[in-house]
């Protein structure tokens, strides 16, 4: 469980990491003829970076502490 401040820092960092991972210069680097297990390197890179980002995002989300009063039921709702 991480406090709000920590979660904020981690979220920002992860967002920056994601922006970096999907930035065109990196894609150009992977735009080669090479293949990984028969899959062109660009596709392999993009999908694996995506998987890593999702996994990190999951870790972050599950460690974030739900702050107090997170669930305010709207009045008069069933």
């Amino acid at each position: 469980m991480a406090g709000p401040a920590k979660t904020s820092e981690r979220s920002i960092s992860l967002l920056l990491l994601g922006l970096l991972a999907f930035s065109p210069p990196l894609l150009v680097i992977f735009s080669g003829r090479a293949t990984i297990f028969g899959i062109p390197s660009l596709f392999a890179y993009l999908f694996s970076a995506w998987v890593v980002l999702i996994a990190l995002s999951r870790i972050l989300a599950e460690r974030a502490r739900p702050d107090d009063g997170a669930r305010v039921p709207p009045p008069g709702q069933r």
Partner: protein, 944 residues
């Protein structure tokens, strides 16, 4: 064979299943056992993002330009990664304010502005129109393709199937009917459509499985897996170029990523499922990774299908947007083709249903109702139950919106690829982003700023994307695109102000965002906020600080309870209103029937209840008709806001200060206890001293009196008496000297002549000094010192005083017969040890502890005989401790005593001195207080 009726039957059966799910979901919701109260359904419902665009269009895009179709899914992933900052906050605000749509959200933030809500609605309807046409196009195209099975014939624009008339119109009609069935069955107080959400989640599963089924068939059925497929594609130069991105595509890649990052929040239907339909904020936590995972899964086979399609249909006469369908058809997989068609249908229906429900809510709440309420001729205020009217407006607007989409498709969209149609909508939705993001983080953003930004952004969008599409379809002269309006080349819509060389989307995004953000910021900076605006701004920006009910403190409303309840009932129905008010009363343990006047809280509650049905802006207007709810003055508002934020700030500081104070108090208390103890010791000391002084004084006085009263006393007697007087005076002097010494030392006023000394010399001098005394007593004194002792840092006279004191003490306690005293020394590491050992009577264990205290002597009876004052050892201890050493005694009764003291060597003292400075005498006197309170001057000690 796939007959027309089979396809039709399958479609209708599928839609019936959907409707059954909706119906069941709503029933469950009514009974309070929500079907959608789990994060998985929530994540699947967000996947309404994947429409026909994803299902058919991605493959088309991939076939045309390779990997960049993926940006549309990477963008939302990034936005969800940043959920903590954006989505979570929007969700919390929307829950607190019962937001019903994106127009409601923006209108609420900027002072519940009806104008702004209307503008957002117009932008949304116009902007989403192409997107809906995309779905219609995809469904009708796929239907007509399937109809031709086993032949693969691209439907021609002018082609009209003979028995169904215009397919797209038919599809549009069906969609409208289903949207009305799904979304507007009744007016819900909270604008939740649980049944619809359940159906959407089901559709997300269907389209994912259908797409994966086609993908698996193509990759592993037609080819030998990914490697085989990619290898075969790589062999063809026209496909191989799709394997890479060339550096010229930077702009497009970034544009698409930014657009889709904004779209996942700003598209009205995404806002609807993600924010409005959310039942539990905690679900977001799982959805933030489940939804991107869904996006990833549905994209795995896009490239394989695209490459397979291009290899299967090398002529280029089959539209790549249809590969998902045509590749299984070409492989004679009629079952799979039908399943793919159903998958595409589910993708399209999900989008159309949610989008039209969201848009119709906006049209009703933010466009039509405010107008109706304003026009007095309708006398809407006086009408009874309005929930029927609300439903009618919504149903009408659903039909209208879908028809707009149909018209766009019919006149413009037929010749354009799916993705390029959809992107136009994305660009329109992205216009909301500055007003939303700015609205939740920038307190100073004003209504005028939002109005200026939104309207200018929308106009630029229309000019650079919408109008050219009209022109290209022949509805405007094509010269408009080629040479600009009236031949003004500077205003060419695809190269505005000469910005050429970039793709249309980047171009439009640049100009629209430039004006949108530019005007939003600039106008906000130079315009003032109204009172409601300020309140709403504060409530939005600081949503985590204010709890849900906070808004009420800004209103002073008066209305009767029955008026309020009647008002609410007119919009959401009697039964629902009764229940809501009942729960309100129960929650606060009040009896509404005994409360004729509604307080501000209840007025606020009614307004929020109403906002759930008709939007914040309209609710404001309606409540004001029955409640004289007026906002308290702006000064007061600012006071409350400022006070509260200051109070929070202060309380943090106070907490900090409180902790410091507590610590200081503890220290003070300790110091005080220590000082009280010292005070008591001082009193004891004084009384002891006066007692000790009295003894010799009494003796002197009595002998003086005897001498005075008996002048004829014999000479021998007289001399003996005078001797006693002299001895007692001497003792008195010594006592006073020692007392003064001790007091000086304790107070730290003693003047010390600290220097480097050879202890051996001092010991030898001391032994020589007391030599006479020992001889007189007949006690033997031995000095056993090593050849060399390290230097110490001390005051020579004081060290001498210690040694003399210890030696004379030893002499006093020895028997005269075979008394023997040894003074010895040794050195170890950083300290030297000097001991004085005698073979006298010794002392009991209990006495050893006290012997260094003042006026404590091991054998009181002997005091008179030896002339000891009881202060000598006390002084010794003070001196030794001042030198940084310690003193102690070891003894057993009858076996003599051994006084030992250790002193640090000069080298050790200098080392320590370099580190921390010399110990201050005060710190020995009051260790606790001296250290922590940093009393620097001895004069400040109250004990003095």
């Amino acid at each position: 064979m796939l007959k027309g009726w089979i396809i039709l039957l399958a479609s209708i059966a599928y839609l019936c299943i959907l409707f059954a799910i909706t119906y069941y979901g709503d029933k469950r919701a009514d009974r309070g056992r929500s079907l959608i109260a789990n994060p998985y359904i929530y994540a699947l419902s967000i996947a309404v993002y994947c429409t026909s665009w994803t299902f058919y269009g991605s493959v088309g895009r991939a076939a045309a330009s390779g990997i960049d179709f993926l940006t549309i899914y990477l963008g939302p992933t990034l936005t969800f990664v940043a959920w903590w900052f954006v989505l979570r906050k929007i969700l919390r605000i929307s829950k607190a304010h019962r937001i019903t749509s994106i127009a409601d959200f923006i209108a609420s933030r900027y002072g519940k502005s009806t104008v702004l809500g209307g503008l957002v609605t117009v932008i949304a309807v116009v902007g989403i129109m192409p997107y809906i046409s995309l779905q219609l196009k995809a469904v009708s195209t796929s239907f007509r393709l399937l109809l031709e099975y086993p032949a693969i014939v691209m439907p021609k624009t002018e082609y009209v199937p003979h028995f169904l008339g215009d397919t797209a119109l038919l599809v549009a009609g069906c969609m409208a009917a289903f949207s009305i069935l799904f979304g507007t069955r009744h007016i819900d107080a909270s604008e939740h459509h649980e049944g619809m959400v359940a159906a959407i989640a089901f559709e997300s599963i269907v389209k994912l499985i259908a797409f994966l089924a086609v993908g698996v068939f193509v990759t592993f059925g037609l080819y030998g897996g990914f490697g085989d497929l990619f290898a075969k594609a790589a062999a063809r130069p026209d496909l191989a170029k799709l394997f890479v991105v060339d550096s010229g595509a930077y702009g497009q890649w970034i544009t698409l990523t930014v657009l889709s990052m904004a779209a996942i929040i700003c598209l009205p239907r995404q806002f609807q499922v993600t924010v409005v339909e959310n039942v539990d904020e905690d679900h977001l936590r799982k959805a933030v990774w489940l939804f991107p995972l869904y996006l990833l899964a549905i994209n795995i086979f896009v490239l394989p299908i695209a490459f397979a399609g291009m290899m299967q249909f090398p002529g280029g006469n089959v539209d790549a947007d249809t590969f998902v369908l045509t590749v299984p058809m070409a492989a004679k997989q009629e079952g799979l083709a039908l399943f793919a068609y159903i998958g595409g249908l589910s993708a399209a229906t999900a989008m159309v249903i949610v989008a039209t429900v969201a848009l119709s809510t906006m049209v009703c709440n933010d466009l039509v109702m405010p107008v109706l309420l304003r026009i007095r001729a309708f006398r809407l205020h006086e009408k009874g139950d309005l929930s029927g009217l609300l439903l009618a407006i919504r149903r009408g607007s659903i039909i209208g919106i879908i028809m707009l989409g149909y018209l766009y498709f019919r006149f413009i969209g037929e010749s354009v690829t799916l993705v390029s149609i959809g992107l136009v909508s994305f660009a329109a939705a992205a216009q909301f982003a500055p007003a939303i993001i700015g609205g939740i983080y920038w307190r100073g953003a004003t209504r005028r700023g939002a109005l200026a930004g939104l309207s200018s952004g929308f106009l630029v969008w229309a000019y650079t994307l919408l109008l050219p599409s009209f022109a290209r379809s022949g509805w405007l002269p094509i010269d408009f695109v080629a040479h600009g309006p009236f031949g003004m080349t500077l205003l060419r819509p695809y190269e505005l102000f000469g910005l050429g060389g970039v793709d249309h989307m980047t171009h439009a995004l640049f100009w629209s965002m430039l004006t949108n953000i530019g005007l939003y910021v600039a106008v906000s900076l130079f315009s003032r906020q109204g009172a409601i605006e300020r309140i709403q701004a504060a409530l939005f920006v600081d949503v985590f600080r204010w709890s849900g009910e906070r808004g009420s403190q800004f209103w002073r409303g008066t209305a009767t309870v029955s008026d309020l309840q009647a008002l609410v009932a007119r919009f959401i129905g009697n039964r629902q209103a009764d229940r809501a008010f009942g729960e309100y009363a129960k929650g606060r343990k009040i009896n509404l029937s005994k409360m004729p006047e509604a307080d501000a809280q209840l007025v606020n509650f009614a307004e929020r209840l109403l906002a759930g049905a008709i939007g914040a802006a309209s609710a404001r207007v309606m409540v004001s008709t029955v409640a004289k709810a007026e906002i308290i003055s702006i000064d007061e508002v600012m006071k409350i806001l400022d006070e509260t934020s200051q109070v929070i700030e202060y309380s943090h500081q106070l907490e900090e200060k409180g902790r410091e104070l507590e610590q200081a108090t503890t220290e003070l208390r300790e110091a005080n206890a220590r000082l009280q103890e010292l005070d008591r010791l001082k009193d004891d000391f004084l009384s002891t001293v006066s007692h000790e002084l009295r003894t010799p004084l009494t003796s002197i006085r009595s002998f003086t009196e005897i001498l005075h009263d008996n002048p004829d006393l014999a000479l021998g007697e007289r001399e003996r008496f005078l001797g006693i007087i002299a001895k007692e005076s001497e003792r008195l002097t010594r006592l006073i000297n020692q007392t003064l010494d001790l007091a000086k030392m304790e107070a730290g006023r003693m003047e010390w002549q600290m220097e480097r000394l050879n202890p051996k010399a001092v010991v030898e001098d001391a032994a020589a000094a007391v030599g006479g005394l020992f001889e007189e007593r007949g006690v033997r004194l031995e000095v056993q010192l090593p050849f060399r002792l390290p230097m110490v840092y001390a005051d020579r006279d004081r060290l001498m005083q210690v040694l003399v004191n210890l030696l004379s003490n030893a002499a006093d306690f020895c028997d005269e017969a075979n008394g023997r005293v040894v003074v010895w020394g040794s050195a170890k590491q950083d300290q030297i040890t000097i001991g004085v050992t005698d073979n006298g009577s010794g002392m009991p264990k209990s006495a050893q502890k006290q012997i260094f205290e003042k006026f404590q002597q091991a054998d009181t009876a002997r005091r008179g005989r030896t002339g000891g004052t009881g202060l000598g050892l006390s002084i010794c201890r003070q001196i030794v401790e001042h030198f940084g050493g310690e003193i102690g005694v070891e003894s057993r009764l009858g076996e003599g005593a051994q006084f030992i003291f250790h002193l640090p060597t000069a080298a050790a003292v200098e080392r320590a001195g370099a580190k921390g400075g010399q110990r201050h005498p005060l710190s020995q006197l009051i260790p606790a207080a001296g250290k922590r309170l940093r009393i620097r001057k001895k004069n400040e000690v109250p004990a003095e």
